[in-house]
């Protein structure tokens, strides 16, 4: 064992508080130390050259650098060691800048502490073992879960880069919530007009395999090598054969509420969710179809037989298995259920509706062909209530949903456009018009004669034949009652009701608001704590369409990194379990947050025994297993029990 110790002055940063000459002399007499030197800047070219020369001249096999934090230059010195053929993990850094020179005033005491830190580092270096980082091949394909605008954007970007994409959507058509919207703020482009070309692109892209009306039911593996099981629900219509002629619908005799129109209208039991659906294929409503319930009616089958003969009631659930290298989660959001705010009377009065219901009412393809009609009549007094289910601790949602202020402004504009003489009032807490063009749009809507009143309404009730919205106007400090024919609740976004399934499926975390948690709020906004799994869109938190698209592309770009590289490098400082002393208790198996430890059978003293074994590709190197192991079989490489104990022993010594 030949250790080289290198003490950095860091200009005057370290030298001012630590006697570097004394420290270098001190290190010389530590066990195994062959050379001990100091330099003005160890990280500089001359500093590095000095270390390189020493490694070659003295045949050093362990390096200790006493300098700044390992978080700064550990990688610099590892690369240096690699360049001269030394194992990069045979390096130990004593942090004598951030943890010593910069935080202490007394030079004598600081030097004494630096001595202890260097002695501990030398001690640990003498016990370090060479490690190898493994490289694993990546399956050149990606899974995108969710076919809203976020998922479509991610899928298109990855597919355009030349990689296979499996796009899984649980509904019969992709499109998500965006295809339900009427106009989009602040530009007022029609949502379907900008969305449907994207949907069509995704539907016919040669690199995208679309699984509509399907769900991901199992994911195993790790970055680069995920095994995914997808369940295809039976449509009872053959996707290949259906020409979307629509004859079946005409012959179907059963009607059911239409969820695409939020149950504001009805549709038949063999239906297409909306005219531009992708795939353009009909689907049978299994809950209401008379054939599936009683086998009585076969009208749709008979009429279809004369044409494409696509209807097949023998279809069963199918399970498909695919392999992918990366996963993008784009499972979207649900809108807040206004029944949780009973004071607004959503379930009592038919003229209290949600923002999304307004979108369908206002949409030319909606139940009223775009006319704003309530009970067949045009409303004259329209009241909007903002922040329903957002910024509201009473329903457990402290966050702002980020879109309601602007969609309310847009809807107020649409009312003004369609009913020019309407009286429009918006009750708000604060108006947050933070995006590009938002404030300008909000100003425009106010100029169009929309009354903004600051206050959070306490109640909506019926007086005579009309609704009354009661609130305090907090700017005037007075109680107000506004009569209304239509009350629109600006319901916020809540995590999708399927979030907990996704969390357990992919082992993701949730933030306190129950949306999916990103790896770092600033620097890794689309990554998750699990390598190879990325977040896009509202599953991570409320956002508007431009932010969602940006995040969709960002997630695609991040997912493309392992796909393009073709290989992933795994952590080298992982855990390891000694088979010969493992007692097979499984404590480490339970403790591992990454499911990286499993049992395997080995032969010991002529008997079959079960011992724990680490999957080094899954292991992230936290060392939790090592701390729960009772027999000392589980060890964390570079942080082994013996290595840490030797550091403690060195810190406990008194040095002259």
């Amino acid at each position: 064992m030949k250790i080289g110790v290198y003490i950095c002055h860091c200009g005057v940063n370290i030298k001012a508080k630590v006697n570097v000459q004394k420290l270098a002399k001190f290190a010389e007499q530590l066990p195994h130390v062959r050379v001990s030197k100091e330099n003005l800047y160890m990280c500089s070219e001359p500093g590095q050259q000095m270390i390189k020369k020493d490694i070659e001249e003295h045949g050093l096999d362990r390096i200790v650098v006493a300098a700044c934090s390992p978080r700064m230059h550990e990688i610099t010195f590892r690369n240096l060691m690699k360049s001269v053929g030394l194992n990069p993990y045979c390096l130990e850094i004593a942090n004598i800048r951030e943890h010593c020179a910069w935080v202490h005033e007394d030079k004598m005491k600081a030097t004494k502490k630096a001595q202890k830190l260097v002695a501990a580092a030398v001690q640990k270096a003498s016990l370090l073992e060479p490690l190898e980082a493994k490289e694993v091949d990546v399956v050149p394909a990606a899974l995108v879960i969710g076919g809203g605008i976020a998922g479509i954007q991610s899928a298109l970007d990855i597919a355009d880069a030349g990689y296979q994409v499996y796009l899984v959507e649980k509904e019969p058509s992709i499109g998500g919530h965006m295809i339900q919207l009427d106009k989009t703020f602040p530009t007022l482009d029609c949502s379907a007009c900008i969305m449907t070309p994207k949907m069509a692109d995704a539907g016919r892209h040669p690199n995208i395999k679309l699984f509509s009306y399907s769900e991901v039911v199992d994911v195993k593996g790790f970055v680069g090598n995920f095994d995914v099981t997808i369940k295809k629900k039976p449509r009872y219509v053959d996707e290949e054969k259906c020409t979307a002629c629509g004859l079946c619908t005409q012959y179907c005799s059963v009607e059911a509420p239409d969820p695409f129109n939020l149950n504001l209208s009805k549709r038949k039991c063999i239906y297409i969710p909306f005219p531009q659906s992708v795939p353009a294929c009909y689907v049978v409503d299994p809950e209401n179809c008379r054939y599936l319930k009683t086998k009585e009616c076969t009208q749709c089958v008979e009429v279809c037989k004369k044409g494409p003969d696509a209807i097949d009631f023998n279809q069963k659930e199918q399970w498909v298995e695919v392999k992918v290298g990366a996963i993008v989660v784009a499972t979207g959001y649900d809108t807040f259920d206004p029944a949780l705010k009973p004071e607004y009377g959503y379930n009592l009065y038919e003229n209290v509706i949600t923002g999304l219901e307004f979108e369908r009412l206002s949409n030319a393809a909606g139940p009223t062909t775009g006319e704003i009609l309530i009970g067949g009549k045009r409303p004259k007094d329209v009241v909007f209530i903002q922040c329903v289910g957002s910024r509201d601790k009473t329903v457990g949602n402290e966050y702002c949903s980020r879109v309601c202020c602007m969609y309310t402004a847009k809807q107020a504009h649409l009312v003004r456009e369609k009913i020019p003489n309407a009286n429009i009032t918006v009750f708000y807490m604060d108006v947050r018009a933070f995006g590009k063009g938002f404030e300008e749009f909000y100003d425009r809507v106010k100029m169009e004669g929309v009354t903004y009143r600051r206050g959070n309404p306490s109640e909506v009730y019926r007086r005579g034949g009309r609704l009354v919205v009661k609130s305090e106007d907090t700017l005037r400090g007075e109680l107000v009652e506004v009569e209304a024919d239509l009350v629109v609740l600006a319901t916020g976004m809540v995590p999708s009701r399927h979030t907990s399934e996704i969390v357990s499926l992919l082992k993701l975390s949730q933030s306190p608001d129950k949306f999916l948690l990103e790896a770092h709020p600033k620097l890794r906004p689309v990554d998750t704590a699990s390598d190879g799994i990325f977040l896009a869109g509202c599953c991570q938190g409320p956002k508007d369409i431009p932010d969602t698209v940006a995040q969709g592309s960002a997630a695609a770009a991040r997912a493309l990194i392992p796909l393009c590289r073709g290989k992933v490098t795994t952590e080298a400082m992982v855990s390891t379990i000694r088979e010969d002393i493992c007692r097979g208790c499984g404590f480490c198996v339970d403790a591992c947050p990454y499911d990286a430890i499993e049992f395997k059978k080995v032969k010991r003293a002529g008997r079959q025994v079960e011992v724990a074994s680490v999957n080094e590709v899954l292991c992230k190197g936290c060392g939790v297993c090592a701390s729960v192991c009772l027999s000392g079989a589980a060890q964390h490489k570079s942080f082994k029990d013996g290595q840490i104990l030797s550091v403690l022993a060195a810190l406990g010594e008194e040095y002259a």
């Binding site: 005491k109 403790a591 947050p593 840490i644 406990g652």
Partner: protein
């Protein structure tokens, strides 16, 4: 004359939050007593309570264990595991007659440089107040 008591304190810091927080203390030049020596681990979940025993046996008068705030662990739940183990270990310390106050657990994030300095000062003052651990042995 009695020599002034200058305690030995060992800190186990997790790489992602508290070690980085201690780095920020340095970068911001917040001062704290020289008595503390840090040992880096990747996660507080790696810390076996026996490390604290070893530190005490090797002459430490106090031990600080610091990691990411609850819910912010880089490895998802390592800090919860550490908290549970340390809570149980405190009972054991009481049982063998070492004041549990000699073992401090704290949450310091990578952005809390000032907090780290404050924690170190508090721990050092506490240990000074408690006196050397060897006094107990004699």
């Amino acid at each position: 004359m009695l020599k002034k008591f200058d305690p030995n304190i060992v800190a186990f810091l997790c790489n992602w939050c508290s070690y980085a927080g201690a780095d920020l203390t340095g970068t911001s030049h917040f001062h704290y007593p020289e008595n503390l020596r840090a040992v880096r681990v990747m996660c507080t979940g790696r810390i076996n309570p026996l490390f604290a025993v070893a530190a005490f046996r090797q002459g430490a008068d106090g031990v600080l264990i610091s990691g990411c705030h609850p819910g912010e662990c880089h490895y998802m739940q390592g800090n919860y595991l550490a908290r549970r183990k340390i809570t149980l270990f405190r009972n054991l310390m009481e049982f063998v007659g070492i004041s549990p106050e000699r073992l401090r657990m704290s949450w310091v994030s990578a952005s809390e440089g000032k907090k780290f300095a404050d924690v170190v000062k508090e721990v050092t003052n506490k240990i000074k107040e408690l006196g050397p651990l060897s006094a107990f042995e004699e």
